[in-house]
C-alpha cells in the first residue's frame, strides 16, 4: 500500500535517500565493516547538517520540531542502505538531553555531529540494570552496573546511561529513574569490545562507582527515551526488510532456472508475497504509532519492537533462501541485511523480551 505522506514528508524521504545513495549506499557500509570507529564521521557530520539529529528536538531548542513520522521515514531510508551511522540513537539522545541547561555543550555537540553520545540501556532486563546512589553529599551521584551490547562504544565520546535508584539508596519518587551522561574515559568505566555479525563496534560496559558528568532528573522529554529508541529500531528494521524484499524481487525476476525466471514459480511468488505482507504490517504499525505523537506508551513500543524484530528476522532469512546458493555467500549483499536484522532485533531486547514486557504491561 502506498504511504500517506505530506509533500514535506515526501521531500524529506527523497532527500534522505538521495544523500545516502550519494554517500555510497550499501557499498559504503560493506567497506566500513570491521573498522574500529564503525562509521564515516564526514557522513555523520553531513547528517547533522541536514538536521537529522534534531528531527525530534523542539524548534525552540535548535531542532526541527518534527514528529516520529519524520524520524521513522529517515530511519527507514537509513535501514534500506544499512547506513552504519547511529542516526536513530543520536536523534533520540539529542531529544532527551535538549532541555538540560547543564548539558548544553554536550547537546550542541551531539546535534551538530561533533560528539557521538550513545544510549546505554539494558536489552535483557525489564528496567535499567545500572543503579545510582548518593553515598555522601560530597560524592554526588554514583553509578554501578553492567550493560551488554552498547553500539559504537569504543569510539564514541560518552554514554547516556539510564539508571535506577539502588535498593538501599535515596528515593526521589518519580525520579527514581534518571538519565546520566558518562564520558567514555570516566574512571570506573570499563569498556569491553565485542564483535557482532553486523561488523560495527560494540562493547559491554562495566560501571563501578562511576561519577556521571551530568545528571538529568526525569522530565517529560526523557519520559519516553527508552520507548522512542524502540520505535527507532523498529523503523530501521522496516527499511532493512523492505530493501531485502526489493533486492529479492529483483533477483527473482532476473535469475533463470528451468528456462524461466525463478520469480514465475508460484512457490517463490507466494513466499515473497508473505514476506511483503509481513513488512507492510510492521510498516503500518510504525506509522500508526508515530501518529500518536512523541509520548509513546511502553506497551505500544514493546509490541512494535517485538513485532518488527520477529518479522524482520523471518523476512531476511527468507530472502537468503530465495537467493539460493549465491545468498549464502559473503559477497552477496542480502546477507548483510540478515546480519543487520539480527543486530537490530537483539539490540535493546529481542522479540521474546519485548513480548514478555508487553505481556507484563498489559496484565
Amino acid at each position: 500500500m502506498d504511504l500517506l505522506l505530506t509533500d514535506e514528508q515526501r521531500l524529506l524521504q527523497d532527500s534522505v535517500a538521495k544523500m545516502l545513495a550519494q554517500a555510497g549506499g550499501v557499498k559504503r557500509t560493506r567497506a566500513l565493516r570491521g573498522r574500529a570507529d564503525g562509521f564515516d564521521s564526514a557522513v555523520h557530520a553531513r547528517m547533522a547538517d541536514e538536521g537529522w539529529f534534531g528531527l525530534v528536538v523542539p524548534e525552540g531548542l535548535g531542532g526541527l520540531g518534527l514528529g516520529l513520522t519524520e524520524l521513522g521515514l529517515v530511519l527507514m531510508e537509513a535501514g534500506r542502505v544499512l547506513a552504519p551511522e547511529p542516526i536513530g540513537a543520536t536523534a533520540v539522545v539529542a531529544r532527551a538531553i535538549a532541555h538540560g541547561a547543564s548539558s548544553s555543550k554536550i547537546f550542541a555537540g551531539v546535534l551538530e555531529g561533533r560528539m557521538v553520545v550513545m544510549p546505554a540501556i539494558a536489552g535483557h532486563a525489564d528496567g535499567p540494570v545500572v543503579t545510582w546512589l548518593v553515598p555522601s553529599k560530597e560524592s554526588g551521584v554514583r553509578l554501578d552496573g553492567n550493560l551488554v551490547g552498547i553500539p559504537m562504544a569504543a569510539s564514541c565520546d560518552g554514554f547516556l546511561v539510564e539508571a535506577r535508584a539502588a535498593p538501599d539508596g535515596l528515593s526521589l519518587g518519580a525520579e527514581d529513574t534518571m538519565l546520566t551522561y558518562v564520558p567514555r574515559s570516566t574512571p570506573g568505566l570499563t569498556i569491553s569490545p565485542r564483535a557482532t555479525v553486523d561488523g560495527r563496534p560494540f562493547a559491554d560496559l562495566a560501571l563501578v562507582d562511576v561519577k556521571p558528568e551530568v545528571v538529568f532528573l526525569r522530565d517529560s522529554a526523557h519520559g519516553a527515551f527508552h520507548d522512542i529508541l524502540l520505535f527507532a529500531a523498529a523503523a530501521e528494521l522496516v527499511g532493512v526488510m523492505s530493501a531485502a524484499i526489493d533486492i529479492t524481487v529483483e533477483y527473482l525476476k532476473t535469475r533463470k532456472q528451468f528456462g524461466k525466471p525463478i520469480g514465475s514459480f508460484q512457490a517463490l511468488q507466494h513466499r515473497v508475497v508473505n514476506d511483503y505482507a509481513r513488512m507492510v504490517s510492521v510498516r503500518s504499525f510504525v506509522f500508526q504509532v508515530a501518529a500518536q505523537g512523541l509520548d509513546i506508551s511502553s506497551s505500544m513500543a514493546s509490541a512494535l519492537k517485538a513485532h518488527a524484530a520477529a518479522e524482520a528476522l523471518d523476512v531476511c532469512k527468507s530472502a537468503i533462501q530465495m537467493h539460493g546458493g549465491i545468498g549464502f555467500t559473503e559477497e552477496c549483499d542480502i546477507g548483510l541485511y540478515l546480519k543487520r536484522a539480527m543486530w537490530l532485533s537483539a539490540w535493546l531486547g529481542n522479540a521474546a523480551h519485548h513480548r514478555a514486557r508487553y505481556s507484563a504491561l498489559m496484565a
Binding site: S284, A306, A356
Partner: protein, 383 residues
C-alpha cells in the same frame, strides 16, 4: 487501538451505544451461527427505521451519509454487543454498484427496497466449476431480442434459499478472449419460473449457503446492469473497498474476548506459556489494526486501495485463524465441544467459531488467489 473519537464522534458513539443497547433484542446477541433471515429481518428493519442500516450510503439514496469514522463507530458498537450478521449483499455489494452503474429506473426500483429490508439479495458469482477461476463461468444468458434466457448453476449464495432477488454474472459471449470479456452483470427476480434453490449446510452445521439451479429462466433486458459483456468490471470495481470491512481487527478481537473469558473460567489465564501466546497474538492484531487504519485513511483521503487490499486480507484472515486456534487450545479438554462452555457472564462457543473461521481464507478470493494477485500486480513478478 490507535484512534480516539473526536468530541462529535464521541457523542455519536454514545448515542449509537445507547440506542443499540435498548433496541437490540437479547436473543440476537452473542450468536456464532447467523440466525435465519426470518428471525433477523425485524432487527434489520428496526435499524433501517432508525436510519442506520446503510451508514455509508449517501442520503439521496436513503443512507446515512455517514463519515468513515461514524461507519466504524456503528460497526464497533454492533460488534461490542455481538450483534448478528445481517443479509448485507444488497447494502454492501449491489447498492454501491447500482449507484455507479445502474440506470435511473434500476436505482428507483431497487435501492429503497434494499434499505427497507423488503428485498433480500443474493450474490450469484461462483459456479460449481468456476470458483477461484471465476472468469471461466458458464451460466449463459442467450439473447432472445427483448429478453435473455438463462441456464446454468450458481453456488455459495448466502441465504440463497431466503433471497428474493439475485445479482449475477453470466456468460453473454461464449467466444470472448480473454474469457472475462464475455461476461455480463444482471439482476434476476428469484420468483421467475425455472429457478430452484438447494440449501447447503456448512462445516459448522449452519445452512447459510445455497446452490441455485437456473433452467430456461427469462430475464428482461432491462435487468442488465452496465454494458453487455462489461460485467467483469462492474463486479470487480468496488472489491478493494469491500475488503476493508472483512479486514477489520474487530472480528479477531471478538475471538480474543472469548479467549479471555475461557481462560479466566478454567484458570489458564495464569499460565505464563498461554499468556505469551496471547501476547504474540495481540501484537499481531495490533499491527493488523494499524494496517486497517492506514487503509481507512487512504479511503478517507480519496486514494485507491487497489490490489494492496489483498495484503490486508491475508494478514487479517491469518490472525483470525490463529485466534481460533488459540481458542480451542485454551479450551483444553473441552476443545472439541460443540456446546458452549460455561464462562463468566455468558456461555462461550469455541468450536463453531473455529470451524466458521475456515471460510476466511477461502471466500472472497482464497488466500492463494490473493497471493497470486499480489505477486503479479504489486510485486510485478512474471508468469
Amino acid at each position: 487501538m490507535f484512534r480516539k473519537d473526536s468530541p462529535a464522534d464521541a457523542d455519536f458513539r454514545a448515542e449509537a451505544r445507547e440506542w443499540l443497547e435498548t433496541n437490540l433484542p437479547h436473543t440476537l446477541r452473542g450468536m456464532t451461527a447467523r440466525p435465519h433471515p426470518p428471525e433477523i429481518m425485524p432487527w434489520y428493519k428496526a435499524l433501517s427505521k432508525r436510519g442506520w442500516i446503510a451508514p455509508h450510503w449517501p442520503k439521496e439514496y436513503g443512507g446515512m451519509g455517514a463519515t468513515l469514522a461514524q461507519q466504524i463507530i456503528i460497526s464497533d458498537e454492533l460488534a461490542r454487543l455481538s450483534a448478528p450478521h445481517l443479509p448485507v449483499q444488497g447494502i454492501n455489494h449491489l447498492g454501491p454498484i447500482l449507484m455507479r452503474y445502474g440506470t435511473p429506473g434500476q436505482k428507483a426500483q431497487h435501492l429503497s427496497r434494499i434499505i427497507s429490508g423488503e428485498v433480500i439479495w443474493a450474490q450469484g458469482y461462483s459456479e460449481p466449476g468456476a470458483g477461484s477461476d471465476l472468469a471461466s463461468l458458464t451460466t449463459r444468458a442467450d439473447d432472445k431480442g427483448d429478453h435473455f434466457v438463462v441456464n446454468g448453476q450458481k453456488i455459495w449464495q448466502t441465504w440463497g434459499h431466503y433471497a428474493d432477488w439475485m445479482f449475477m454474472l453470466v456468460r453473454t459471449d461464449a467466444n470472448a478472449t480473454p474469457k472475462h470479456a464475455g461476461i455480463s452483470f444482471m439482476l434476476v427476480d428469484l420468483k421467475t419460473p425455472g429457478i430452484k434453490a438447494r440449501p447447503i449446510m456448512n462445516i459448522a452445521d449452519d445452512d447459510e449457503f445455497a446452490q441455485m439451479f437456473l433452467d430456461d429462466v427469462v430475464v428482461p433486458k432491462g435487468n442488465l446492469v452496465g454494458p453487455l459483456n462489461g460485467g467483469w468490471k462492474v463486479a470487480n470495481d468496488l472489491l478493494a473497498h469491500e475488503r476493508l470491512g472483512t479486514s477489520s481487527p474487530q472480528h479477531t478481537m471478538e475471538v480474543l474476548a472469548r479467549i479471555d473469558r475461557v481462560s479466566k473460567a478454567n484458570g489458564k489465564a495464569a499460565d505464563p506459556i498461554f499468556r505469551d501466546k496471547l501476547a504474540a497474538l495481540r501484537i499481531k492484531v495490533t499491527a493488523q489494526a494499524a494496517m486497517f487504519w492506514h487503509a481507512v485513511d487512504m479511503i478517507a483521503t480519496g486514494q485507491p486501495l487497489g490490489p494492496s487490499s489483498s495484503t490486508m486480507k491475508l494478514v487479517a484472515t491469518d490472525n483470525l485463524q490463529a485466534a481460533t486456534d488459540l481458542l480451542i487450545e485454551v479450551a483444553g479438554a473441552n476443545g472439541a465441544d460443540s456446546e458452549r462452555l460455561t464462562t463468566d457472564g455468558e456461555p462461550t462457543d469455541v468450536t463453531q467459531i473455529f470451524l466458521q473461521s475456515r471460510r476466511a481464507t477461502i471466500y472472497g478470493g482464497s488466500s492463494e488467489i490473493q497471493r497470486n494477485v499480489l505477486a503479479k500486480r504489486v510485486l510485478g513478478l512474471p508468469g
